[in-house]
Structures are given as structure tokens and as C-alpha cells.
Amino acid sequence: MKSLINFFDKVGYSITSRINRLGTAARLFFLILISSGESFKRFNLTMKEIYFTGVMSLVIIIVSAFFVGMVLGLQGYYTLQKYGSSEAIGVLVALALVRELGPVVTALLFAGRAGTAITAEIGLMKATEQLSAMEMMAVNPVGRIIAPRFWAGVIAMPILASIFSMVGILGGYVVAVIVIGVDEGAFWSQMQANVDFRYDIVNGVIKSLVFGVACTIIALFEGFDAPPTAEGVSRATTRTVVTSSLVILGLDFILTSFMLGG
């Protein structure tokens, strides 16, 4: 009997603590929105964070986009040539990248490259009591530290995703047209005929915006919520990657079903 009660106790605790964390995250989100005036008034704060989260992620984004595009080109060609429609390779590469792979892979890489850095930085700031010191000096740590990082992530993500899609298509072009020898005119014209600006490209950008918000808010919250110890910060960093990846993939399904259904 005692062990049964213990069991329910544990289940209840894990559920309430999860809901608690979700609530704290939502409150942090609104706190950021309220106190984000400073990150636009003193835009160089945000600028510095865009440099760290966006510009420094360019290398990994461009290199992985190029390889993803090349692989799509190769795989698509081997399947499409069986049906004698290897010219449709441009459509395949472009639609796959613009609709799905661009936003999703960018967000996953972003969570690994920038999200972890944000969590570790804020977790350490909290552990070394820099945030408390700021509060003592009457500086709002949310406005000064957290909000600029949030807006930097939200601004950087769509830019990174567009770069990813464009570089990926160039990678597909290199493999399909230059290496394999698909007709160049057919490659581009079929792509233009089948990729719609409003329905494919704009939806991709909307997706990456949503992922940007989700990724940075998770990273910021995990850092802010981390126990102020070395172990706590390391665990928070791991959780950032796991949670961000799951949330990105889940949100991707929800957004896609809305966009295709609507």
C-alpha cells in the first residue's frame, strides 16, 4: 500500500513539476516581450548576439546545406531516372529544401550550435551570481541579458534558413547539372513552374520564425532555470538540445498540417 502511494506520489510530482516548468517558461516569455524595449533601443546589444548566434553559425549552416543539397540531388536522380523524369530533380530538391529541410535542419543545427551556448552562458551567469549582481545594481537582467538573445535568435533563424535553402539548391544544382548532366534549362524552369512563392517560400519562412522563437525560448529558459552548479548547467545544456529537437519536429508536423490543409 505504501509503495502504491509512493508511486502515485512520484507520478503526480513529475506531472506538476513539468506543468510548473511550462508555466515558468511562459512567464519568462511574456517577461521578455514586456522588457524587450531595451534590446531595440540599444540595438548594439542585440547586434552582438546576432553576431554570436547568426554569423558564427554561418559556416556550419552553409557546409551542411551544401551537402544536404548534393545528397538530395544524387538520391533524387537515381530514383527519378527510373521513371524517365530526371528533369524533375530541380523541383524535388527545391521543394524538399524550401518546405521542410531548410527550416527544420537549420533549427536543429541552431539548437545544437547556438542554443547550447545560450543555455551554458546564462546558466553560468546565474551560477556565478552575475544576474543577481545586476539586479542589485537595479539593472533588469531580463531586459539586459535575456531579451537581446531572444530577439537575436528570432531574427537570425529565418535568415539562416533562407541561406540554407539557397545553398542547398546550389548544391543540388552542382550535382544534378554539373556532375550528372541534367539539362540546366529544364532544371530551373521546372523548379520555377512548381515552387510557389506564397505557398512554399513564405510558409518556409514562417516555419523558421516559429522555430526561432521556440528554440531560443527553450535555450533561455533552461539556462535561467538551471540549478546553479556545474552539474546543473551541464544537464540544462543537454535538456536544451533534447527538448528543442523534439519541439522542432513536433511543431513542424503541426505547422505543415495547417499549411497544407489550409
Partner: protein, 154 residues
């Protein structure tokens, strides 16, 4: 890192992002070719639309002149009402013929318009009266089989 260099890098970053978005829009997407903006809508009744979908192209002589706006089923007359948006630049006579065709063997279905000889042109809200349904392969095959069977009986 001094401030000017940082600003420059962020500037380059944003510029590259804007360029790739523009590249996607112009080179990959159909923003340049898709210049259907001002449209007027007409409706047409079909007994069977086959696999026609909203946003399917409307073509006249192979040229895309508009898109299918919506398809609804009329429960009074039991047929499909297809609403079509046609570019303002293109005018069609009132007795234009609307057919549902299939692009290629397995391709998407589209509405083909064939101009008639009426002096008046279609205007906003008009109805195309002369329509031809989509070809349903099963119907075609069964018709063929029936006609074969009746031939043999005779």
C-alpha cells in the same frame, strides 16, 4: 572584436540572408512569372470534376490565364460548382467552353477554356454554361466493354 567589425559582419549576414531570400523568390519560385494579380471570377457547373483541386491552373491555348478558386458541391442539383479567378487582361466570350483536362498521362488536372463566338464577354460573377466533365477512366472502360458486348450480340 571592435564594434565596427562586428557591425559589418552582422550587416553582411543580413545582406546574404536577404539575397538568398530574393534568390529563392526570383530564381526558384514563380514570383517573376506569376503575374496574375487583378482577377475576375466566373463559375462553371460540372457533373464530374475528376481530380480537379483548388489552385489548379486555368489554361487557354496552353497559356495559364487563371486559377481555380474553390470547388463546392451543390446539394440541390447534385453537381460541382467550380469558381475560377481569371486574369483581368484576358477576356473571353460568353459562350466559352470549359473542359477539364489532364496534363500528361499522370499529371494534374486543369481547366481548359476554348473561346466561343459571342459578341459579349464574360464579366465578374458570370457562369460558363457549356462545360465538359473530366474523363473518368473506369467509365470509359465500362462504356467500351458494353459497346463491345452489344456488338457481339448482334
Amino acid at each position: 572584436m571592435d564594434k565596427i567589425k562586428l557591425d559589418a559582419w552582422v550587416g553582411i549576414f543580413v545582406a546574404v540572408g536577404v539575397i538568398s531570400l530574393l534568390g529563392l523568390a526570383m530564381k526558384v519560385g514563380n514570383l517573376t512569372s506569376n503575374d496574375i494579380r487583378e482577377t475576375y471570377s466566373v463559375i462553371a457547373h460540372f457533373e464530374n470534376i475528376g481530380g480537379l483541386k483548388p489552385r489548379a491552373p486555368i489554361k487557354a491555348a496552353g497559356v495559364v490565364v487563371g486559377r481555380v478558386k474553390s470547388i463546392i458541391f451543390d446539394t440541390k442539383a447534385y453537381h460541382a460548382i467550380v469558381r475560377m479567378d481569371i486574369d483581368n487582361r484576358y477576356v473571353f466570350p460568353k459562350d466559352t467552353f470549359a473542359n477539364i483536362y489532364t496534363a500528361g498521362l499522370l499529371g494534374e488536372q486543369y481547366v481548359g477554356l476554348e473561346a466561343g463566338g459571342d459578341m459579349d464577354n464574360l464579366a465578374e460573377g458570370d457562369r460558363i454554361t457549356q462545360t465538359q466533365d473530366a474523363v473518368v477512366l473506369e467509365k470509359l472502360i465500362s462504356q467500351f466493354l458494353y459497346s463491345k458486348a452489344s456488338e457481339e450480340e448482334e
